[in-house]
């Protein structure tokens, strides 16, 4: 098949090599993407997918190698040149100006002349045809900030098509979508393929690859390790290719805890207003029991982040009550006398923050310094005023051993560790004391598969040992793999709390978009 030259290739990347300093990000990459297909690119974080696509889109220049579009060698030195060559990109974080309308966003940089009114009229006509032929409904006069994410994404695609993109790159497009919105997106992608557009889909969700692509390229450690026809491969094979060994995608959860186990954390009528006075949490009530993992699902930005921060003492709520039943004591906090962040760990709680690099570790600290963040007052680590580097090192080595953190080099700068290992370090740190309550935010965001497996197993182990775990995740797969119960949030309110075993992705997807609590 591959020898068949009658197939036209939309993109050929031949011997692409890119170095950053001493790091080889792309090593002699060979990738051929047939015209009019949906082509998946998978790989762990740091495998070089983003670098490669950035080279195709003109953000970086390759050190070596050649790019051919439609068989012709091209030089792409900037995104402007990429667009001129018919390459469009939809970034993971949308590149839209929120206070402008959809039409204005599309015209931005493609005004075609001095007079806006004329350009607008001309554009609208063309956009209407584009929307019809590609089934991409977008309200052109709506402000972007008033659009749901799904529509914003359609707008991004429309923007690329308006610039006459024949090759469309989508970087992790489903991260912010509900399952229903994702299914809609895939329909659109199939439509685009039918119209002859070549789609490159970068993702780490293997199910999506299986569902929608024609061919798939697997990358690992800066190299292409396999190229397959999707129909000839399986999720399991792709996962194995990605990390170089077989992986368990499902973790054995074991039995569900008894319903009458102790309530470790109870929240009543919790409300939070942000600095602008917008109510982000609208009167939440729930309980978290010993020996269970309660998942908090929802499209990101619906109050999960705020809930976690309030429970960790990082934000003060405007109303509500929190009961902590840890270390054999009942503690009660209300909005006036909220739990101080400095006391959280003293009360037997652990907190794995959502934003690992922003809160969980210090990039410029050594691994061992990051390993005691939040514990610098521990008596065991030194004297009354001083810290003993030797004892910090010993503790770090214990954490490294417990969670198989790599490399075993406590003096390494935290920023030079991979995301997965940073995360393992944070979770190891927060779990080292067997906390009775563990708050966990996005434990596997930006983490490679091997580390995910490890983190899942450790979380289940902690649960079985009696920890009460609150897990915030935007990955439905993760919610299903780990939790006993799921609490779904939308617009700052709880829209439902369900037993994981008795729910489907569709049920939860429905709750994610539901307006007000039914339960």
């Amino acid at each position: 098949m591959s020898g068949d030259t009658s197939i036209g290739y939309a993109v050929e990347m031949l011997g692409i090599t890119k170095r950053f300093g001493t790091v080889l990000a792309n090593d002699r990459i060979e990738m051929k993407i047939a015209a009019g297909t949906i082509h998946g690119v998978v790989g762990e974080n740091g495998a070089g997918k983003s670098t490669l696509m950035s080279i195709l889109y003109g953000f970086y220049q390759a050190d070596e190698g050649e790019i051919r579009l439609q068989g012709k060698p091209v030089q792409i030195r900037s995104s402007t040149e990429a667009i001129a060559q018919g390459v469009g990109m939809v970034h993971q974080h949308f590149m839209l100006v929120e206070p402008l309308s959809a039409l204005e966003n599309i015209l931005l940089g493609a005004e075609d002349g001095w007079l806006l009114a004329k350009a607008r009229q001309k554009a609208e006509v063309r956009l209407k045809t584009l929307m019809q032929t590609h089934h991409l409904p977008v309200d052109l006069h709506k402000l972007v900030e008033a659009m749901p994410v799904g529509e914003q994404q359609r707008l991004e695609i429309l923007k690329a098509l308006f610039r006459r993109a024949r090759i469309l790159i989508l970087d992790e497009p489903t991260g912010v979508l509900t399952p229903q919105e994702a299914a809609q997106l895939f329909t659109i992608l199939r439509e685009l393929r039918a119209q002859g557009v070549t789609v490159v889909l970068i993702t780490h969700k293997l199910q999506e690859i299986m569902d929608v692509t024609d061919n798939v390229t697997v990358m690992r450690a800066g190299r292409v390790v396999a190229q397959r026809r999707t129909q000839d491969t399986s999720r399991e094979e792709l996962a194995e290719l990605m990390i170089g060994r077989p992986v368990l995608l499902q973790v054995d959860k074991g039995s569900k805890p008894a319903a009458d186990s102790a309530v470790r954390l109870a929240v009543k009528n919790l409300r939070y207003h942000d600095a602008r006075g917008v109510e982000r949490l609208k009167g939440l009530d729930f309980e978290l029991r010993a020996g269970e993992i309660l998942g908090i699902a929802g499209v990101s930005g619906n109050g999960q982040t705020e809930l976690l921060a309030v429970l960790a003492g990082l934000l003060k709520p405007s109303a509500g009550e929190l009961q902590l039943n840890t270390l054999g004591q009942q503690r009660r906090f209300d909005a006036k006398q909220w739990l101080p962040a400095s006391e959280l760990r003293a009360f037997g709680c652990g907190h794995v923050p959502e934003d690992r690099l922003g809160e969980g570790v210090i990039k410029n600290f050594s691994m061992q310094e990051s390993a005691v963040l939040g514990f610098h007052q521990d008596a065991e680590l030194g004297g009354w005023a001083w810290l003993s580097p030797k004892r910090i090192r010993e503790r770090t080595l214990r954490l490294i051993e417990a969670f198989d953190v790599r490399p075993v080099l406590p003096s390494l700068r935290t920023a030079d560790m991979s995301g997965g290992n940073q995360q393992k370090l944070v979770i190891a740190r927060e779990m080292a004391r067997q906390p009775e309550v563990l708050l966990v935010g996005q434990p596997t965001r930006g983490v490679d598969l091997g580390a995910i497996e490890r983190i899942y197993r450790e979380l289940i182990k902690a649960r079985d040992a009696g920890a009460a775990i609150l897990l915030v995740s935007v990955e439905l797969e993760e919610i299903f793999a780990l939790t006993d119960r799921v609490m779904v949030m939308n617009c700052g309110a709880i829209t439902g709390i369900v037993e994981t075993a008795q729910s489907s992705a569709k049920d939860i997807g429905m709750l994610m978009t539901q307006e007000k609590a039914a339960a």
């Binding site: 098949m1 591959s2 020898g3 300093g21 001493t22 790091v23 080889l24 090593d27 002699r28 060979e30 061919n215 690992r220 450690a221 190299r223 292409v224 390790v225 396999a226 190229q227 397959r228 026809r229 000839d232 170089g244 960790a312 003492g313 990082l314 101080p340 962040a341 400095s342 006391e343 959280l344 760990r345 907190h351 923050p353 934003d355 922003g358 809160e359 969980g360 570790v361 210090i362 990039k363 410029n364 600290f365 310094e369 005691v372 963040l373 939040g374 610098h376 007052q377 030194g382 005023a385 001083w386 810290l387 580097p389 490399p407 390494l412 700068r413 030079d416 560790m417």
Partner: protein, 385 residues
């Protein structure tokens, strides 16, 4: 497709992490050395433009600054003040704060030392008076940094702005106090009366002479030892104490500090207090140790120069020590320059200082990037072999 898959390169093990970290001799010696040479090269052009020989002037400066029989002890005296003010900037910097108020903090500390000495120099012996001077200098310096720290912690008023304003307030306050309250009744100069000899420690020169070491006369005094102790203490504080850990955490990432349960307000105020106390110690070197009285504008810009010292020293206590010696030598070397070369005005030294700051701090990357690239290329070549 299957042939294509098999012709692809075989899976490789993950490469072991290569860091772009530079060894100590690159950061500590090679890079600042080249930056200093560049600064001197450009300064030589200025000297040439004035019509003097760069080599002759450099020689005069070096001899003037480093001859143990003559200028070396003055170099060390200036370096002492710069160590204090440089460390002050360093401590604040590690907590993410830019304390530009060293000048004012040192000036107010001078007032504290003068008040203590004027009050107690009849009753206390020299060693006790010295301890009181150290204590009051730290107290007054810290007090002058407290309010800017508090304003940032509670009201969000940036310390860069408030400390600059506090420099002006300090200058005004001191001018008033010196002119109207504590001015000596004798003489024309705006200064306090000299403190009593019995309360002052002898300078370094007679001590060293009694040990058989011949040095030139200078203001050098015991404060140099205090400064060296402070270098060690600041190092210890920043990297070996719980407080230092918290300060650095806050300086690196305030959100992570909050996550770790540290209070931002406490961190800001504590860092400013320590910083102010260090800057204040300059008064021990100058007001108590050297002059034996408080004179108008005694700080003479040493507080500001501390910023350059900290920048050049890359905010490391040892770096501060080295760059304080360098700037001390430049300062001292320039005095001889004026005597030997009438065509060179005292402002030339400001040009050289400016060039050093320019190349070492402002244009740091100009030298650092190519040198780091060169080093990495060399490593890569070595690894390939």
């Amino acid at each position: 497709m299957s042939e294509a898959a098999s012709s692809l390169p075989a899976p490789v093990p993950k490469p072991k992490p290569i860091t772009n970290k530079m060894p100590w001799w690159m950061n500590g010696l090679a890079i600042p050395g080249v930056q200093l040479l560049l600064a001197l090269a450009v300064a030589s052009l200025v000297v040439l433009g004035v019509g003097e020989s760069p080599f002759a002037t450099l020689k005069v400066m070096l001899v003037g600054a480093l001859d143990p029989q003559a200028g070396l002890s003055s170099t060390l005296y200036y370096a002492t003040s710069l160590i204090f003010t440089g460390l002050a900037v360093t401590v604040a910097f590690h907590a993410g704060l830019f304390n530009i108020g060293g000048e004012g903090q040192a000036y107010v500390a001078g007032l504290g030392v003068a008040l203590a000495c004027l009050w107690l120099d009849g009753t206390l012996s020299a060693p006790l008076m010295f301890l009181v001077a150290v204590f009051t200098a730290m107290l007054f310096g810290a007090a002058w940094a407290l309010l800017p720290g508090y304003l940032q912690a509670r009201r969000g008023a940036h310390v860069v702005v408030t400390t600059i304003m506090f420099n002006y307030i300090a200058a005004g306050l001191l001018n008033y106090m010196l002119a109207n309250v504590i001015r000596s009744q004798e003489g024309m100069a705006i200064e306090t009366r000299p403190f009593k000899e019995a309360a002052l420690l002898p300078k370094a020169q007679p001590w060293l002479q009694s040990m058989g070491i011949e040095v030139g006369p200078s203001y050098l005094n015991l404060s140099l030892l205090v400064a060296l102790i402070c270098v060690g203490l600041v190092w210890w504080l920043l990297w070996y104490t719980r407080l230092g850990y918290a300060l650095r955490t806050y300086g690196q990432n305030p959100r992570a500090a909050k996550y770790a349960g540290m209070s931002a307000a406490t961190m800001i105020v504590t860092a400013m207090l320590i910083s102010g106390a260090l800057a204040g110690l300059m008064a021990v070197n100058d007001v108590y140790g050297a002059q034996g009285r408080l004179v108008l504008n005694y700080t003479g810009g040493m507080g500001f120069l501390g910023i350059a010292v900290a920048l050049m020293g890359r905010n490391h206590p040892l770096g501060v020590l080295a760059s304080a010696l360098l700037f001390g030598a430049l300062y001292q070397g320039s005095t001889d320059l004026q005597l030997e070369f009438p065509r060179i005005s005292p402002e030339l030294i400001l040009v050289i200082q400016g060039l050093v700051v320019f190349f070492a701090a402002a244009l740091d990357r100009l030298v650092r990037d190519p040198m780091e690239r060169w080093y990495l290329q060399r490593q890569l070549k070595r690894a390939a072999r």
